[in-house]
Symmetry: C2
Subunit: 307 residues, 2 copies
């Protein structure tokens, strides 16, 4: 198997998810899972994560079946990270019911030799000190992106600010962008982020899509409109995985490639939310993906008219 | 002056608007004001509304200077409709501080002879019984659209449901769509509306834009991204005015024309929110409008790449 060209460092977890209509315990989840399954359709993802001894062989097989490189998937004594969440009636807000870090509490990512020279690297939402450690183990990737969350913005701001000059893109959602920057306007928030290092800020707006801001361009990517959403869990990581995989597949970090990649991320996220957990991503094929990209282009097409 | 080709029936008001940074009393406002000023740039709008004896001559002149046909603007004894609102810190939610209907309480729209055969008609957010009365006075417009709000959905649902089969498009925001249809999913809400008459449902999502759903197509129109927003008041009516004016200007209600028109509505709404009240709309010219349409197309452009 060819080497990974897109390494993700993050979590592999079992999620217990409640929506107004369904409840599923111990669904395969975690940022690295969603990211890598999305990416597997057109890039060669590799995972750096830790699971417990209870991690089910069928889930290892699921990842292997999608050619996800597992060189960096460590099994540690204890149980796999578990998270429980309950969505509100319109699937927009969610409450965390529990977080059992388990083996994730001691996670100290070690990048295996086969991954160290990966050209594309995604640091999913973990402690920014660990994100810095990962970067120190890699030999100059071409493009590094990073996700973060309120917890680290509050508790590890110094480390996060040390990380920013070392990465190319920061992914975060709109409320996190406000918390980090103090700006409610998304463009102002993005400019604040760019002034601290990353050439690109990707601000996610949930069901409304995302914006991508870099020096050269502003790109608005509305979400794909679906008849029904089963479970929004993992949509943000899937968006990042679909986007980073397109960059890796094209081996191109130009503004135009980033635009196209963000559209691909949106397409992948639209599949993710159609089913509980990452299983829609696992069932996908390239024909469906290309067809949805076509439909997505059509969804936002503005005809020419003279006025 | 040529006859109006787009008549709006709605309110002309004085708004007292508070945002976290500014406070402006008695700003010219009302749905018909925003709608017609937006429309005036490329259609021939006419207003049917009522003002009080305190309505300031400079505001009549402002509308006249934009060639808004005022044949249907009645002056009644008493004071002009006044509304006061306060926006929250991110300008997303607002509280109504007061509503003084004044002369608007007795508003019974009379369509002047010059307007009766208008090809395009917009029934802004007023009592659906009055919207029905207006329709009865017109001689078969080519395209009728209507806006409504929670107040009428709660209090005049029967009248609203009687109106729906008589109109071509219903405009409402996402929370109103849920209240009317019981569907939180916007596509399901739109299908519910279409099943009750209007060929087109336009669901507005505030700062996130809007969606347009008809039998033949679904169109997602994200909002134009601005560095700063001064005052969101009137953005929805401006969107409707900019959209309806494009339909009237093209004299075309085809699916492609509706798409283009919704993009024009988005462009006009983006100007509206740049200043308090409708004054940015009043200061606009077609070069600025066309330039922003170009920038809007660029904002959402997805390049072609093979993947």
């Amino acid at each position: 198997m060819e080497n990974a060209n897109l390494v993700v460092v993050g979590s592999v977890a079992y999620d217990s998810i409640e929506t107004p209509t369904q409840s599923h315990p111990d669904v395969l989840g975690g940022s690295a899972t969603y990211f890598s399954l999305a990416a597997s359709h057109y890039a060669r993802p590799g995972i750096v994560a830790v699971v417990g001894q209870d991690f089910r062989p069928e889930h290892t097989r699921l990842l292997q079946d999608h050619s996800v490189r597992l060189d960096g998937l460590e099994t540690a004594p204890g149980k796999t990270f578990r998270w429980g969440g309950r969505y509100d009636k319109d699937l927009k807000e969610r409450d965390t019911l529990f977080t059992h870090l388990n083996v994730f509490a001691e996670f100290s990512p070690r990048i295996p030799a086969a991954f160290r020279d990966t050209p594309y690297l995604f640091l999913a939402n973990i402690d920014p000190d660990l994100q810095l450690q990962v970067l120190a183990q890699c030999t100059g990737p071409r493009w590094v992106a990073c996700d973060t969350m309120n917890f680290w913005i509050k508790g590890k701001l110094d480390s996060l600010l040390r990380l920013l000059p070392k990465i190319d893109a920061l992914f975060l959602n709109d409320s996190e962008a406000f918390e980090l920057t103090g700006h409610r306007n998304l463009l102002e928030a993005a400019r604040w982020i760019q002034a601290r290092g990353p050439a690109t800020a990707v601000i996610k707006k949930g069901e409304h899509g995302a914006i991508l801001v870099s020096k050269d361009q502003v790109f608005v990517v509305p979400a794909f409109l679906l008849d029904s959403v089963a479970d929004p869990t993992g949509a943000g990581d899937t968006f990042a995985g679909g986007m980073a995989a397109a960059i890796a597949a094209l081996d191109d970090t130009s503004p135009e490639a980033l635009r196209f990649a963000a559209a691909m991320g949106t397409v992948m996220a639209s599949f993710c939310v159609e089913d509980f957990g990452p299983f829609r991503l696992a069932r996908l094929n390239m024909d469906e993906i290309r067809d949805r990209l076509r439909r997505y282009r059509e969804l936002i097409r503005i005809p020419d008219r003279a006025i």
